[in-house]
């Protein structure tokens, strides 16, 4: 009797353990890739991010913190390798444009929430802190 109880108890313990592991791992798989989240300029440099795009990543992290439209941004593991920086001089002004791929989570009140693919475009005029815009991709809800 006692043995049977112990066996059942053990069985339930393993079922519970399995459920826990399954739940945690499924959450991990579903969670977005969150590299560089809320990292500042210095942390990103020390983390070996491309120095020339760090100002745009850190400016965007800051921008999202106080933003009415977006709740979160998730940088992708390809963000760094697909980033495009270009610069030009126009009428004696130095203009640098950095574009980065990311996913953003728009703020809304509905139950279903979608991550949306977006392009972050930072424009730095005459070496000032960059201004940025987030351009959502229309066809890409996750």
């Amino acid at each position: 009797m006692i043995k049977a109880f112990q066996y059942t108890h053990q069985k339930y313990f393993f079922i519970k353990l399995f459920c826990c592991i399954f739940f945690i791992s499924s959450q991990a798989i579903a969670s977005p890739v969150n590299i560089h989240r809320s990292k500042d300029f210095k942390s990103l440099i020390i983390q070996s991010e491309r120095p020339e795009i760090v100002i745009c990543i850190s400016a965007t992290n800051q921008f999202i913190k106080n933003n009415k439209e977006y709740e979160q941004i998730q940088w992708l593991d390809t963000t760094s390798s697909t980033a495009i920086l270009n610069e030009k001089e126009e009428n004696n002004h130095l203009i640098r444009v950095i574009s980065l791929n990311a996913d953003v989570l728009p703020k809304n009140t509905s139950f279903f929430r979608y991550w949306v693919h977006a392009k972050v475009v930072c424009e730095q005029v005459d070496e000032a802190y960059p201004s940025l815009k987030i351009i959502e991709s229309t066809s890409n809800k996750k």
């Binding site: 210095k42 020390i46 491309r50 020339e52 270009n86 610069e87 130095l94 640098r96 730095q124 070496e127």
Partner: protein, 345 residues
């Protein structure tokens, strides 16, 4: 212990302390573009001072990382930082030298400066669109050169490199395809080729690999006896890399920004070499160990006053214009010690 013995030990102790405070050990790290001349300068400087200076060529991006982490007293980077970037980390930046960046090739039977290349062709080679040396576009601008059907093996820097930053800045200026797909980068997802570390790594691989093409600072090309090419400049003229042609481009620098950030690529003039790298020094403005910061600035002071002929001997261009040097030294007044006191008078 009697009084005289006590005095003797006090003197010895004071002597050791004085050696410690005068013979500073200064550490720097960063780009490999300037590494050869930095080594030469350090070696010369140490014949006139007891200060010990070391410099590690670990690539510009790692140099920035090291100065940000305050692991070194100064960094040298060919990835210029803008004012907004410098302010994020309390850094000052000033230009130290400029050097010509040149494509180098390994093609049997082709001598130095015999082959003509244009920016668009270079971009198409690195984009993987031109894959053989006898491609029609290369043959068209080299009517008198016998080109063999050898596969092109592009080599690029795999470390975070200021030389790559400058080279891709040039490619971005001369090729719309490059501009739209890859842009400027210290590291990139290069569409074709193989990555190597440092200017030295590229030089060695070009020497060893038939059909290879790479890009290095001119010192590495001459020192390793690599085959350089004639490159089309902004005026549409094919010119060879040499000190005078680098100088024609560097002389056009305006240094109008507080950060001294500038690009000297693809500047006009019939003799202007189209790819010029600028090596900048980065130093923290705050919380410096007073003596180390003083000795660091003393080293750069010496370079500006006495280093230019050594630079010229090695085909580097150092900056001697009194107005520029005055502006640079004026920026040093921002460098403070841990007590907030300026270290440069």
């Amino acid at each position: 212990m009697n009084k005289s013995k006590f005095k003797f030990f006090i003197c010895i102790f004071a002597f050791i302390l004085s050696i410690e405070s005068f013979a500073a050990e200064i550490n720097g790290a960063g780009g490999t573009l300037a590494l050869p001349i930095i080594k030469i300068w350090i070696s010369k400087y140490q014949t006139i001072t007891s200060d010990k200076i070391s410099y590690q060529g670990i690539g510009s991006a790692n140099g920035i990382k090291n100065i940000t982490a305050q692991a070194v007293d100064f960094a040298i980077t060919d990835i210029g930082l803008t004012e907004a970037e410098l302010l994020q980390d309390d850094l000052i930046q000033f230009p130290l030298l400029a050097g010509g960046i040149t494509p180098v090739i390994n093609l049997p039977g082709i001598r130095a400066n015999e082959l003509n290349l244009s920016g668009k062709i270079l971009a198409n080679i690195y984009l993987g669109k031109i894959t053989y040396w006898d491609d029609a576009s290369i043959a068209q601008i080299n009517p008198s050169v016998k080109l063999e059907h050898i596969r092109i093996k592009p080599l690029y820097r795999k470390d975070g490199s200021g030389t790559s930053f400058t080279f891709t800045n040039y490619l971005s200026k001369v090729s719309d395809d490059w501009h739209n797909t890859l842009g400027i980068g210290s590291t990139l997802s290069w569409p074709s080729g193989e990555g190597k570390n440092g200017n030295d790594g590229i030089s060695k691989s070009v020497l060893e690999t038939e059909g290879a093409i790479g890009y290095v600072e001119y010192f590495y090309a001459t020192n390793n006896k690599l085959t350089t090419v004639r490159l089309e400049n902004a005026d549409g003229k094919f010119i060879e890399p040499n000190y005078n042609n680098f100088m024609h481009a560097v002389q056009q620098a305006k240094w109008k920004r507080e950060s001294f950030y500038d690009s000297l690529n693809q500047l006009p003039g019939p003799d202007s070499w189209p790819i010029i790298g600028i090596s900048y020094v980065l130093i923290h403005t705050k919380n410096n160990v007073s003596n180390d910061a003083k000795q660091t600035l003393a080293f750069f002071d010496w370079i500006f006053s006495s280093g230019s002929s050594l630079a010229k001997d090695n085909n580097y261009i150092s900056f001697t214009d009194p107005n520029l040097v005055k502006k640079i030294k004026s920026s040093w007044k921002l460098v403070q010690d841990t007590k907030g006191q300026g270290v440069y008078k």
